[in-house]
C-alpha cells in the first residue's frame, strides 16, 4: 500500500488520513471560534449592568421571540444531522431536501434576529447607546454573522452538489459544515440562556 504520510494509524489510506486531519483541524478551528465567543460573553457578563440609566434586558427583550428563535435553530440543527445521514448514504435528493430545509430555517432565524435588531434600533437602543447595548449587539450580531457565513457556505456546497453530484470532497465539506452548524446551535443555547433568560431572572 502506498502511504503518503505513514501516520500512526498506518491502516488508513491516503484519503482517509487526509479526511481525519481535516476534520480534526476544523475541530481545533471551532475551538478557537468558541474562545472568541468566550471573550464576547465575558464582555457581556461584565457590562450587562452598564446601562447608564437606560433600560435593561428585562425591559428590552422578549423571551417568547428568543424561544422561537431557539426552536428554529434547534430544528435546523436536527435537519442538518438528518441531511448528513443522507449524505453518507449518497442519497442526493434527500441531501438537497434536508439541507434545503436547514438553509430555509437558518434564513428564518436570521430574519427574526434582524427584525429584533430593527425594533431595538427603532426604540432608540443602538450599539452606541451604552456598554450594555454595545455588548449585546456585538455578541448576538457575531453569532448572526456566523449564521450568515454558514448559509453562504451551505448555499455554495448545495450549488456544487447539484452541479457535480455527491462526490467524496463534497461529502467532507458537508460534514464540516454540519459540525459548524451544530456548534453555532450550542453557542446560541448559551446566548439564549445568558442574554435572554438571565435578563428575566
Amino acid at each position: 500500500m502506498t502511504t503518503h504520510a505513514a501516520t500512526l494509524d498506518h491502516e488508513m489510506s491516503h484519503e482517509e488520513a487526509a479526511n481525519d486531519r481535516v476534520m480534526f483541524g476544523f475541530w481545533v478551528y471551532l475551538m478557537t471560534d468558541l474562545l472568541m465567543f468566550a471573550v464576547l460573553f465575558a464582555v457581556y457578563a461584565v457590562m450587562r449592568e452598564s446601562t447608564v440609566g437606560g433600560p435593561d434586558g428585562a425591559e428590552l427583550f422578549s423571551p417568547g421571540l428568543a424561544l422561537i428563535e431557539t426552536l428554529i435553530l434547534l430544528t435546523s440543527s436536527f435537519t442538518c444531522g438528518l441531511g448528513m445521514i443522507a449524505a453518507r448514504r449518497s442519497n442526493k435528493t434527500q441531501v438537497l431536501a434536508w439541507f434545503g430545509i436547514t438553509f430555509f430555517l437558518g434564513l428564518l432565524f436570521l430574519s427574526l434576529e434582524i427584525r429584533e435588531f430593527q425594533e431595538l434600533i427603532h426604540e432608540g437602543q443602538t450599539l452606541r447607546t451604552n456598554a450594555f447595548m454595545s455588548s449585546f449587539f456585538v455578541l448576538v450580531g457575531t453569532h448572526g454573522l456566523h449564521i450568515t457565513s454558514g448559509l453562504l457556505w451551505l448555499g455554495t456546497i448545495l450549488f456544487y452538489v447539484n452541479k457535480r453530484g455527491l462526490n467524496a470532497p463534497l461529502v467532507r465539506k458537508l460534514a464540516l459544515l454540519s459540525l459548524f452548524w451544530h456548534f453555532l446551535d450550542i453557542v446560541w443555547i448559551f446566548i439564549f440562556t445568558v442574554v435572554y433568560l438571565m435578563s428575566f431572572a
Partner: protein, 228 residues
C-alpha cells in the same frame, strides 16, 4: 469510495437517525424547562440563574454527544482533549474576567469613591460639580471686598447656603479660612482665589464659626457663622 464513507461515519453500530432524534427531543426538553421556569417565575434569584445555566450545560453535553458525536469518531482522543481544554480555558477567560473586573469595579469606580468620600466629609462640590452632599440650595449670601474691607464683616447663614465673594479691588485675593498664617480647609477648599473684579461662589456645607481672610493681606478679614 467505501472506506471514505467509513471515515465519516461516526456511528457504525448505532442507528444514526435515532441518535439525532433522541438529541433533538432532549434538547427541546432542556430548552422548554428553563424557559418555563423563567416565565412562570417558579424560582427566583441566584437559584434560578444557577438552574438555567445548569440546563444550558446539560443541553450542550446532549448536543455534543448526540449531534456532534464527540468521542465516537474514528480517533476521538485529541478532539476530546481539545474540547475539554477549551471549556477549561473559557471558564478561565469568563470567570477570570468577572473575578477581576468585579474586584476592580468595587475598588476603582472613581466617581463612586469620590462621591462617597465627599458625602462623608460633607463636601458639597468638587471643582464645580455638586457631590450631592447638599440637597437643594437655600439662600445666597454676598460679601463684597472693596478697598481691603469686607462688607458685611459678619455673615450668618444656614448649612448648604451659598456664599459669593465679590472682589471689587484691583488686586487678586486669596481667601483662606482660619487664623493667619495657619489655615484650615473649609468644605474641601484650602484657599479660594478670587481674581480682581471677579466673583467666586462656594457652598457652605460645614457648620460652625469661621474666620476668613485674604492670605496676601491678613487684615482684610471676615467672620462666618454657619448654623445647621
Amino acid at each position: 469510495m467505501k472506506e471514505t464513507q467509513h471515515a465519516y461515519s461516526p456511528t457504525k453500530e448505532h442507528n444514526p437517525t435515532a441518535s439525532y432524534v433522541i438529541g433533538f427531543v432532549l434538547s427541546l426538553f432542556f430548552t422548554l424547562i428553563p424557559y418555563s421556569l423563567v416565565v412562570n417565575k417558579t424560582v427566583t434569584g441566584n437559584v434560578l440563574i444557577a438552574t438555567i445555566l445548569g440546563f444550558a450545560i446539560i443541553q450542550m453535553l446532549v448536543q455534543i454527544f448526540f449531534f456532534l458525536h464527540l468521542g465516537r469518531g474514528p480517533k476521538p482522543f485529541y478532539n476530546i482533549v481539545f474540547f475539554v481544554a477549551t471549556v477549561g480555558l473559557i471558564l478561565v477567560t469568563v470567570g477570570g474576567s468577572i473575578f477581576i473586573m468585579n474586584n476592580l469595579y468595587s475598588n476603582m469606580s472613581v466617581t463612586d469613591i469620590t462621591t462617597k468620600l465627599a458625602q462623608k466629609e460633607g463636601i458639597a462640590q468638587i471643582g464645580d460639580q455638586p457631590t450631592g452632599a447638599c440637597q437643594g440650595r437655600l439662600q445666597n449670601h454676598q460679601v463684597i471686598i472693596k478697598d481691603g474691607v469686607m462688607n458685611p464683616a459678619t455673615t450668618k447663614a444656614k448649612r448648604c447656603d451659598t456664599l459669593t465673594i465679590s472682589n471689587q479691588d484691583a488686586k487678586d485675593r486669596e481667601i483662606a479660612f482660619g487664623e493667619h498664617p495657619e489655615h484650615s480647609a473649609y468644605g474641601g477648599e484650602e484657599e479660594v482665589l478670587v481674581r480682581a473684579g471677579y466673583n467666586k461662589t462656594i457652598t457652605l456645607n460645614q457648620t460652625g464659626e469661621y474666620i476668613y481672610h485674604d492670605h496676601f493681606e491678613p487684615e482684610t478679614a471676615g467672620f462666618l457663622i454657619v448654623e445647621p
